[in-house]
Symmetry: C2
Subunit: 506 residues, 2 copies
């Protein structure tokens, strides 16, 4: 009990409210985790009602009139919401969430949840049968509802802005377009140059690796990275993900493929990157309006950094390759370190983002953004998507899906209503290299440290410049503070050119 | 949409409220399960606040004035709450929960939660150090709070009634005393007779059994019993338990001991008995005021039935023993079925209920009841408990704990404030045999069926006479309906005498 209270009564009220919302959101996250990891199928119906109940409680808590009044009082109390204090930022972030949520009529939210629930089942069936017509009416409804949602936020520069903002606070469609327009020709040119060269062999990766040793290796690598096992777990699911139930409990999942010895390892490093971000947010933001991450792109910058800039680097493998050869002598005993390194960095156009190498990855994102913008603007029709998809795949990657399951139905995002999400994947790639360059500029020995299996400089730098701030800064402001610039494509393009220039002798 | 609605608007309102309370309670159960099975230790603080939040939401929902009004309206609408309709019973059961909950001031509830949280930690430390003085002040506070709680329910026949009623609805302390008074001398006499005989050898059980095969066996046995894996799971915890998140998701846990090959198997059968009860409640009671079980004793009757009446029977082992010999030939290859059967039914006074055989088990309960009644009545003092405990152990079981960890500090119940809980363990034993006798009377072939590995008559009978009713009937009424009599000790005593008479040649 200090006689100089640091936190006003109203601010404490806001923090308490945020704490309850965090608790509810983490409870929902636990239910989602359990559903994907351990729940028997008989549990799904009631898990649905339980999760909907928590969602409704959160909505009620966030949108009550009392909250509006509290925020207005706090604005008056705090003054400039862009000021660099936790209080100002807490009010700003919470107010934004409140205003977005109160703009959306409850029936529209309910319909969206109902439609996406049905759409998920339809998408599963459509993909299994490779029949877009099963999914088409659901996707049509989703697009209609997303347009209705976006229009609630008029006036805007672009109808896609509101969707993008849900995942990437403060980012505008025009910003993304400008970045992608600069990126596309250079990336296309690089891919063309690579395509003219002899590809490295990666057949030793595309085979069965003993699962038990894959797990041993994955756990060893992320332990060295700094993943905190006292505050996290690793479990198995069909699709790897990261989730958190508080700063003290951040969990990742992976899966071991029968015909690919690299997939689980890179995916584990990726998810550990996400998880270490969650584990690294300042303790003072626990159960607080600023408890979240800055954005999905910033989150993705962390996962891609550990997966690619660290995990696919020469230095990383100079340290870990002997251990890997020990575990898998039949497969790798006669594969040199250099051949291994070139193999895991082979560039090869693929049908789906999750299988893409670093050089082709962003092409999948740009394709998706163009289609999503077309749907939202009205220039593209849902019925034409299979054709549009296939022709863009040919244009961007030089390959054509053999059916809709491999093409327009390939992933889950649209069935969940996630339009506006994809650009964050590419922005995350760009941000990862931008952060990496700054880290190297300040710590020129990092490559040597990696070669010695040391990662604390990297994690410490990310903790200091990114993780600790939680949701205090919007992504562009955070990047500006950390690197001196908003998200920009040059570092990424330079990185790709240098890396693949060497591997492919360009 | 029928034009003859079966459910009135108000009844539907009650059902919706019960559904939300069930959802919240199941959410809390999931958090508890995860905490014991998978949660990293860093998650515990926030899990505590999350769980407390759900508890508060439940309390608010249950005790709101609206609920009182709704129940009053429904009572008028439904009439006789003892009538045999679901509606009447739903109102009765819900009203009882409402009245109990509203009688307890929120600060008292909060203090109880706070004290038991601290008490648990103190108990862990006290037991580790075998030092009762560490736990004593907490236990004193718990006893004081339980007395304060019980007195809220004045007038009563006995101060212990209100505590007992929380676990065993409608059961009175006087009923339990009467049953135990009848039971005690007969059970003591039986134990005396057994003590004079040569004990069977059970050393082949008290050794290491390969964990992997123990799990294989446990899963095989309960699958044959009828445990539904589409609506359940088996995981590992330090202390086995059953929990449910809905009728479609009922989970059990077990643990494999290094020096006892029987413990996990019997515990798995026990928990499966609980779980099959949860899986067997009528679907119409899902998310409904009658969704629960009749009582803890009825629950325990199911677990003890599968563990003991089935799982420790000759017929059970005549079917399963060959499989067990196959899995563990080094240990059991030269142990005859009869020696095995006698070994797993060896009677031996033990320090703690969970390790007790069928013949000594109830003695632990009677000891505990006497102490709990003494504490509540005021005739016993917390400070004297170590001495009282030890002298009663000597009196009832002929053994004396070598320290308080083995004695008065042996289990978790009191630290959690669970006074009034223990009698249900013994009542469950009695009920299990009473149900068993009735089942055999109606199905004389059940023993033969067990010897053939068939258990559907047993599970079917329990489904029909016990499981399906959920919380519709109070335990004594349910037993009366199922067996023609309230809970009574004779069948149990006869069972013990017959079984051990044969094993010990009395």
């Amino acid at each position: 009990m200090s006689d100089k209270p640091q936190t006003s009564e109203k601010m404490q009220e806001l923090i308490n409210l945020a704490a309850e919302l965090d608790d509810l959101s983490h409870i929902n996250a636990l239910m989602g985790w359990d559903q994907q990891v351990y729940m028997p199928r008989g549990g799904s119906e009631e898990r649905g009602t339980q999760s909907a109940l928590i969602g409704r409680l959160m909505h009620e808590k966030l949108t009550s009139e009392k909250v509006g009044k509290l925020l207005a009082d706090l604005e008056a109390e705090v003054g400039d919401l862009n000021a660099d204090t936790d209080e100002a930022r807490a009010v700003k972030v919470f107010k934004k969430a409140y205003e977005k949520q109160t703009k959306v009529p409850w029936p529209l939210l309910m319909e969206f949840i109902k439609v996406t629930t049905g759409a998920h089942e339809a998408w599963v069936e459509a993909r299994t049968k490779s029949d877009f017509s099963i999914f088409q009416p659901y996707l049509q409804k989703i697009v209609d509802l997303r347009i209705e949602y976006a229009k609630l936020f008029q006036p805007y520069d672009h109808i896609y802005d509101a969707l993008l903002d849900d995942y990437e606070p403060g980012m505008k469609t025009a910003d993304v377009k400008k970045i992608f327009d600069e990126l596309r020709p250079q990336q296309v040119e690089l891919l063309k140059a690579i395509a003219e060269k002899e590809p490295p062999d990666n057949s030793f990766i595309k085979t069965h690796y003993k699962t038990e040793y894959q797990e041993l290796l994955g756990r060893y690598v992320i332990t060295r990275f700094g993943f905190d096992w006292n505050r996290g777990r690793l479990d198995l699911t069909a699709h790897p993900f990261t989730t958190e139930f508080g700063q003290g409990d951040v969990r990742i999942t992976t899966r071991y493929l029968d015909d690919d010895g690299g997939s689980a390892l890179f995916s584990t490093m990726h998810e550990a990157g996400h998880a270490m971000y969650g584990q690294g947010i300042a303790a003072k933001y626990n159960r607080h309006p600023l408890s979240g991450a800055a954005s999905l792109a910033i989150h993705e910058s962390q996962s891609r950094l550990w997966e690619n800039l660290v995990g696919r680097s020469k230095e990383f493998w100079s340290f870990f390759y002997p251990s890997v050869q020990m575990l898998f002598p039949e497969i790798l005993g006669n594969v040199s370190m250099n051949d291994f390194y070139r193999g895991i960095n082979k560039v090869e156009p693929s049908m789906i983002r999750v299988e893409a190498d670093e050089a082709t990855y962003n092409m999948h994102i740009m394709l998706r953004l163009e289609i999503e913008m077309g749907l939202m603007e009205g220039g593209m029709q849902v019925a034409d998507l299979p054709e549009i998809w296939n022709s863009k795949m040919q244009e961007y990657l030089g390959i054509t899906p053999k059916n809709d399951a491999e093409g327009v139905l390939q992933d889950v995002h649209w069935s969940g209503g996630m339009i506006g999400y994809f650009p964050t994947y590419a922005l995350g790639n760009l941000a990862s290299v931008q952060l990496w360059d700054k880290l190297l500029e300040e710590n020129p020995n990092v490559h040597d440290e990696i070669a010695q299996g040391k990662f604390d400089t990297i994690l410490g730098w990310m903790r200091e410049h990114i993780h600790q701030y939680g949701a205090k800064y919007e992504p562009q402001e955070l990047m500006l503070r950390a690197t001196g610039s908003k998200i920009t494509p040059e570092p990424y393009i330079n990185y790709l050119k240098t890396k693949y220039g060497e591997i492919y002798d360009l």
